[in-house]
């Protein structure tokens, strides 16, 4: 089977320029909580489950959830990784630590940056959030977590 002619290539870009994501009814209130400087959790009043990130249905009993409550449990590091290269494969000046942060008594958790030396990080480490001074209602209102 011979190829008849030059293989023609045509370059195409993605269809959409930008996506706009809505947070959902309870997600919107959660982001307002972050803007005020507190991390809240959703509470299912049927089975008592407290979970983050919040959504309008309970992942355990599948019924509607509308309440958000303050988290009393302390955050701790449940898992982490140390990143040395950026998205394009170039070496980072300083390695970045990304961690899975869970809270005592709460189902689920958050992914965020951990600011400390890579050698000091361990699973189970107690953490505290550091908020930015200028906040807009986003997960990035928390700048990073650091050892408590």
């Amino acid at each position: 089977m011979s190829i008849g002619g030059k293989p023609y290539i045509r370059e195409i870009e993605m269809e959409i320029n930008a996506y706009h994501y809505t947070p959902g009814p309870i997600g919107l209130k959660w982001l307002e909580g972050l803007k005020k400087g507190s991390i809240l959790a959703a509470l299912c009043d049927r089975c008592g489950l407290k979970y983050i990130p919040p959504k309008i249905y309970c992942p355990r009993c599948f019924l509607e959830v509308t309440q958000l409550v303050e988290i009393s449990g302390k955050p701790y590091l449940a898992g982490f990784t140390v990143v040395y290269k950026d998205f394009d494969g170039n070496q980072l000046e300083e390695p970045i630590i990304v961690g899975l942060i869970k809270f005592e008594g709460i189902e689920g958790g958050l992914i965020h940056y951990i600011r400390t030396q890579p050698e000091r990080v361990f699973i189970g480490m107690k953490l505290e959030p550091v908020f930015k001074s200028e906040r807009r209602g986003s997960i990035t209102d928390i700048e990073y977590f650091r050892p408590a």
């Binding site: 993605m14 269809e15 930008a18 706009h20 994501y21 809505t22 919107l28 309008i56 249905y57 599948f62």
Partner: protein
């Protein structure tokens, strides 16, 4: 086409639910899927733990803007820790989800299945959700001409008008009927009391298509609960049996085909009629929900389904046969033109509407005649797929 079908178990729908269909919704994809799923479970009288399999359908990830969106909304669709399958065949997805759910129950693999369809088109906000269709075109033969999606529909509509001698006024009657039907539908986005002149005077987009000939872009979700025979009788006095299913795909080379008659739909419909034992569809189908993203599509599909003689669907509409109090009510829900077009959820909404009509639960939309057999159909891709489901009380 001969359908070699050995059906182990009879399948019935026992519950259906949907969200509002609106241009923009606050809920995330999971939450939209959850609202529809929760309502379907509540009507069926089941809890999530009673469901053993889940089938979901959704148009490309490019709409919601989340890669692997089937997995993303799967929690809201109740699919966590259960066998889950996602299907997609363009606009035909909505009815295809019901067909895929039917496979699961009819084969004996699962006993109680959720069929969920969700779409959040508003996320593709810049420039416009319709831009996602820019890549539907052949990159070498069609894209360099900078085509607009409405071209294909306009080309097919004009060919249909020419071949069958149908005028724009005849076709506009469908938009008028469906939008008026939708006034009684609490979920509807585009319900309105308009006239044929309103349609003809609306903004011309690609002649012969005007703005009011097209269904709107929407967010929404719909869900069904499908169970096997022994469960159907345990859960409700009026299970609605899935008597026939059919689906057929044609080539994407739409410029090589005769556009005025959907042969692929005829094949799909024959497959479904054969399964359901229907020999004279015009007499035996009591209520139909063919897919109507454009008004001429309702006529086109009625002919492909064998519910109208070739080129005669417009006459039937003019005579009022397809009104809610007519002999063959078509799109009593208001169809896509009236309710909205969240691509996958729209088709499943049609199956849900037939389900409610056959049970007598359609409220103000209930058709006048006593309906025992109904048909829901969806269509999609590049004028390619026909999917049909036949329900019977």
């Amino acid at each position: 086409m001969k359908a070699n079908i050995y059906v182990k178990k009879r399948v019935a729908i026992v519950g259906a639910g949907m969200t509002l269909f609106r241009r923009r919704m606050l809920e995330t994809p999971q939450e939209l899927a959850w609202i529809a799923t929760r309502r379907a479970l509540d009507q069926a009288g089941l809890e999530l733990k009673d469901i053993d399999c889940v089938v979901s359908g959704s148009a490309p990830d490019a709409f919601d803007g989340v890669h692997l969106k089937g997995e993303y909304y799967s929690e809201g669709a109740g699919a966590i820790r259960k066998p889950h399958m996602r299907v997609y065949v363009g606009g035909g997805t909505g009815v295809f989800v019901a067909i895929a759910a039917w496979w699961h129950v009819a084969s004996g693999l699962c006993k109680r299945v959720l069929a969920v369809a969700e779409e959040k088109m508003s996320s593709a906000a810049d420039p416009h959700p319709q831009a996602v269709f820019r890549h539907i075109w052949d990159p070498f033969m069609e894209k360099p001409l900078n085509p607009n999606l409405i071209w294909i529909f306009a080309l097919e509509m004009h060919r249909y008008m020419h071949k069958c001698g149908v005028t724009k006024e005849d076709i506009a009657l469908v938009a008028v009927k469906n939008k008026r039907n939708a006034l009684d539908n609490p979920y509807a986005q585009a319900a309105a009391n308009i006239t044929v002149d309103d349609v003809l005077n609306s903004e011309p987009l690609v002649y012969p298509v005007n703005r009011l000939d097209i269904s709107p872009v929407s967010d929404g979700a719909a869900a069904l609960v499908m169970v096997s025979e022994e469960w159907a009788r345990r859960l409700t006095d009026t299970p609605i049996w899935v008597e026939g299913i059919g689906y057929t795909l044609d080539t994407s080379y739409w410029t090589n085909r005769e556009l005025s008659y959907p042969v692929y739909l005829k094949n799909a419909a024959e497959m479904a009629y054969k399964m359901a034992g229907i020999e004279r569809p015009m007499k035996e189908i009591d209520v139909a929900e063919p897919y109507d993203p454009f008004d001429y599509k309702e006529l086109h599909h009625l002919e492909g389904l064998g519910l109208a003689p070739r080129c005669k669907a417009a006459e039937m509409t003019k005579e009022g046969v397809t009104q809610r109090n007519g002999d063959l009510p078509v799109c009593p829900s208001g169809g896509l033109l009236g309710v909205g077009n969240p691509i996958a959820a729209a088709g499943l909404m049609k199956v849900a509407e037939i389900f409610w009509q056959l049970r007598g639960e359609a409220g103000k939309r209930q058709v006048k005649k006593s309906a025992t057999t109904g048909l829901a159909q969806a269509w999609g891709d590049l004028m390619q797929i026909g999917t049909v489901v036949i329900l019977r009380r």
